[in-house]
Amino acid sequence: MTTFGVIRFPGSCDEVDALQAARHFGEAKLLWHKDRDLGGVDAVVVPGGFSYGDYLRVGAIARFSPVMESVAEFARSGGLVLGICNGFQVLCEAGLLPGALLPNLERRFICRQLGIEVVSDATAWTAACSPGDVLSIPVKHTSGRYYVPDDQLADVNVVFRYAHDGNPNGSTNDIAGVANAEGNVVGLMPHPEHAVDPLTGSTDGLKLFESAVRERVPA
């Protein structure tokens, strides 16, 4: 059985939701930001929220936390890591993913259910999807405008785009999520952990967690 570890920073908001989402497919436990020990988990989720208050710059302080040192090591040795929203920002700050997340073009917090197109199924977190799938998943953020310099854009492993002209933040090429070259580390602004139950929205977010399990147990 896959065990997911979900990091809890001071200021995390969506860690319990991520925990519940992961439990659809495996075991899941919280990892405390001050602990270097990842407790032998098989996959790590860096959740949404406002880690350390997002002082200085979104995700800028969290990358220096003790737990993130271990997550970086885990990622570089091929461990599965998913960064959601603030988690995506943290992974970019930590250099585990390329690019940066800038304030939304409209400079406002935006909370909206959107269509998210799967661009690549060649990552650990999208193996259960097919390219072209449009997932109904909400976004909620103030700083979600993905940016990389033009000369690096071609090298970015794009995983998700905002579909149907629904780009809520002005991100480059409608990018909603990216992976590292190996595909074991994925970050995205939309919140798959908030799309796991028809009662509260949609269930399309389950695909990401299902993918992580499939990755570990090849059919």
Binding site: P10, G11, S12, C13, D14, V16, D17, Q20, G49, F50, Y52, G53, D54, Y55, E106, R108, F109, I110, C111, R112, P138, K140, T142, H191, E193, H194, V196, D197, L199, T200, G201
Partner: protein, 740 residues
């Protein structure tokens, strides 16, 4: 009584200084009498705050005693930080609404943000995890730059705080009316979830126990906020009041929240209280009063943001994100260790005593010594002198719709009017989904629905049209309560309890006293009639400026029970099988009238003197019938008729469901009243024809047409109104340009 004044070398403050701090000369004399001597600076500062309107409710307490507060599901009533109702399986939902009007009128972003912060602390102070925020906002007309500035600031501030702390903002309301131009209203309501057995009260207990202050350090922000800002009218020199607005830090509050809940979960606390208005003064005195004990506090132990603060400043600072708890001496180490885990400052600052006094020390020096009873209980309560004003208090609204407008033009004008237009441009700036409980989000249903761990759900709504109350304080308030309960009925919820925020002008004026007295009478009567007891609330008075008072605005928040969240109602029509379209019915004892309505406002008509009385029992019966039908899963949609009347409600159902409707409402000798008149007790429902006919067996109901198409087509008295959905939608998004 301590006849010898505590040590201060400085001269004692004069009666003039007491008056400058907000006390009357007579109140000052009473303080001298209670102390047996003149108060020193620390004591005077503390008395002036605790005897302020904001803390003592001295003009409203007698009225509030008339409200119904008991019911079979009430587990915590007024007097604690928040009220709470039983939701089954040992769970309770705590809830309360509070105002932050005066700070928001000075600095809207921080005023609104700290309003949310304050109400959240009230919720977790009783051991409940905050699960939802709603807000109730009032501004002048959006044509005014000041109103747009206040709106933008308040919405950003609410979002900033709620979004950052991981509590969803699931509902709310906003109205734009000229009388709020100078005095905007920002009321925030929060709900929390707790195991009933784990809830904690605020009474200090156990002589020798330790007072631990934890959270943010203490600075000069908000000094005198309760007495200076919230308990007097605004004058010319508002700029000077800016320093008395507090600044919020949601990150600090998030840590404080998690730390407080973990302290409670581990059973480490005897009691807990948040620091709100009047800071340490109010929390320590009220904890002592409720526990019938004394407390001794050493201000030199309070962690400060600024080194040179005077003892009185430490005692009255309204710095945000602080809590005070009582701990047994043996557990202090564990409490401080847990604070350290959450990177929260925790400091032992005093003890519980048996003296019945609040003693303030600055190291070895006693700088204040007052009987708890004098501070908390002995503030004089005033009788109001209500008198109905002989002339209208409010100018007629500015006309924006010409007489003779066709029904089609009227419909579009109403849909685009600021009080009716879609609230999505506001709501999408709030996180409404964190915590994974939100079964019905804003604009999906008349009330928000939140599922609970026991498989059931609660619904919640907040309502308070002030113009109605300005027309008729009694019947207008009854209508607000009925509307809140109707919103709950439309999602299938039965009211469990009510909270309220009474926003009024200066109660020392007879006409405001009359508004307040009549509104409280209406509130009490309606809540009694609905068996929806009042478990807590707040009063905000002196909301008036040189150009007059605000519309009297009693804001009503309710929490209701939904047994099966899968069947929670929606407001939008739906088209599942075009060959067997849903029928549209209009249900309820609805007796519409135009005076005081949104249409009357657009036409610039003066407010009427009085509104027709509602048949409360008949409205309740209709609510029960609708609720039962929704709970049985019989209806596709249910929507309460509110501002704009019947046709606006139908248009809202079309827009929410993205499908048109074809209606024939027959002939009428007063088309405007039929289509756009307002009153409590009207519901637009849709569903399979047999289900809607079954509902007609329990409540007055007419079937007017069917769902379908991509336009709203209405035939009235032979005349046909035909508006494509796209045109309705364009009119309805009128608020979007306010948030560029």
């Amino acid at each position: 009584m301590s006849a010898s004044p505590p040590s201060p070398a400085a001269a004692l403050p004069s009666v003039e200084e007491a008056v400058a701090l907000g006390l009357t000369a007579a109140e000052y004399a009473l303080v001298v009498d209670k102390l047996g001597r003149a108060p020193n600076q620390v004591e005077l500062a503390m008395f002036s705050l605790l005897w302020s309107e904001h803390c003592s409710y001295k003009h409203s307490r007698k009225l509030l005693r008339t409200l119904p507060t008991e019911g079979p599901r009430v587990v915590m009533g007024p007097g604690e930080n928040a009220g709470a109702v039983d939701v089954g399986d040992g769970l309770a939902v705590a809830f309360k609404v509070e105002s932050h009007n005066h700070p928001s009128a000075v600095e809207p972003f921080q005023g609104a943000a700290t309003g949310v912060g304050g109400i959240l602390r009230d919720i977790f102070a009783i051991g409940a995890r905050p699960i939802a925020v709603l807000d109730s906002l009032r501004f002048g007309e959006p044509s005014s730059p000041r109103s747009r500035f206040l709106l933008d600031g308040a919405v950003s501030g609410i979002g900033h705080y709620g979004n950052s702390i991981g509590v969803p903002t699931v509902g709310g309301e906003v109205y734009f009316e000229a009388p709020y131009e100078q005095n905007c209203l920002v009321n925030a309501m929060a709900l929390g979830l707790a195991e009933s057995s784990r809830m904690i009260r605020s009474a200090a207990a156990g002589v020798g126990n330790v007072l631990v202050l934890f959270g943010a350090s203490t600075g000069r922000d908000g000094i005198g906020g309760a007495s200076v800002l919230a308990s007097a009218e605004f004058g010319e020199a508002d700029e000077d009041k800016r320093p008395t607005v507090q600044v919020g830090d949601p990150f600090e509050e998030k840590k404080l929240l998690e730390c407080s809940l973990e302290l409670l979960e581990r059973g480490l606390l005897v009691s807990l209280q948040d620091l709100g208005a009047a800071g340490l003064t109010s929390s320590a005195s009220e904890m002592a009063s409720k526990g019938e004990v004394g407390v001794e506090i050493d201000v030199s132990k309070v962690p400060l943001r600024e080194a040179d603060m005077e003892p009185f400043e430490v005692m009255v600072s309204e710095s945000q994100e602080r809590m005070l708890c009582v701990v047994e001496p043996a557990r202090v180490g564990e409490v401080l260790a847990l604070c350290h885990k959450w990177d929260v400052h925790g400091t032992a600052i005093g003890t519980v005593t048996d003296t019945g006094h609040v003693v303030v020390r600055d190291g070895d020096r006693v700088v204040g010594d007052m009987p708890v009873a004098a501070l908390v209980d002995d503030c004089p309560l005033y009788d109001l002198a209500p008198a109905k004003p002989p002339q209208p208090l409010y100018a007629a609204p500015v006309r924006t719709l010409e007489p003779g407008a066709s029904p089609r033009e009227t419909l579009l004008a109403l849909l685009s009017s600021p009080n009716v237009a879609s609230r999505l441009p506001l709501f999408q700036q709030y996180d409404w989904l964190v915590q994974s409980r939100t079964v019905r989000r804003p604009a999906q249903a008349d009330a928000a629905v939140l599922r609970l761990p026991n498989g059931r759900a609660v619904a919640t709504s907040i309502d308070g049209n002030g113009r109605r109350v300005a027309c008729d304080p009694y019947n207008g308030t009854v209508a607000n309560v009925l509307e809140c309960a109707s919103n709950l009925a439309c999602v299938g919820a039965e009211p469990l309890g009510t909270t309220n925020n009474l926003n009024f002008g200066n109660p020392e004026k007879p006409h405001i006293a009359w508004q307040l007295t009549e509104a409280v009478r209406g509130l009490g009567d309606a809540c009694r009639a609905l068996d929806a007891p009042i478990v807590g609330g707040n009063v905000s008075l002196y909301n008036e400026a040189a150009d007059g008072p605000i519309y009297p605005t009693p804001v009503v928040g309710m929490v209701g029970e939904v047994p099966d969240p899968e069947r929670a109602g929606r407001l939008g029509f739906s088209e599942t099988d075009p060959t067997r379209p849903d029928v549209v019915g209009f249900a309820g004892p609805f007796r519409p009238h135009l005076p005081g309505s949104e249409l009357a406002k657009l036409r610039g008509e003066p407010l009427p003197d009085g509104l027709p009385a509602a048949d409360v029992a008949a409205v309740r019966a209709a609510q029960e019938a609708i609720r039962d039908a929704v709970r049985a899963g019989e209806l596709s949609s249910a929507h309460d008729v509110a501002e704009g009347g019947f046709l606006v409600a139908v248009a809202e159902c079309c827009l929410a469901g993205d499908v048109g409707a074809v209606l024939d409402v027959g002939a009428s000798d007063d088309t405007d009243r039929l289509l756009f008149g307002e009153a409590p007790g009207g519901f637009v429902v849709s569903g399979p024809e047999d289900a809607v006919r079954r509902l007609a067996e329990r409540v007055e109901l007419d079937v007017f047409g069917r769902v379908g198409g991509d336009a709203l087509e209405v035939t009235v008295g032979g005349e046909r109104i035909d508006v494509p959905l796209a045109e309705l939608r364009e009119a309805h998004r009128a608020l979007a340009p306010l948030f560029p």
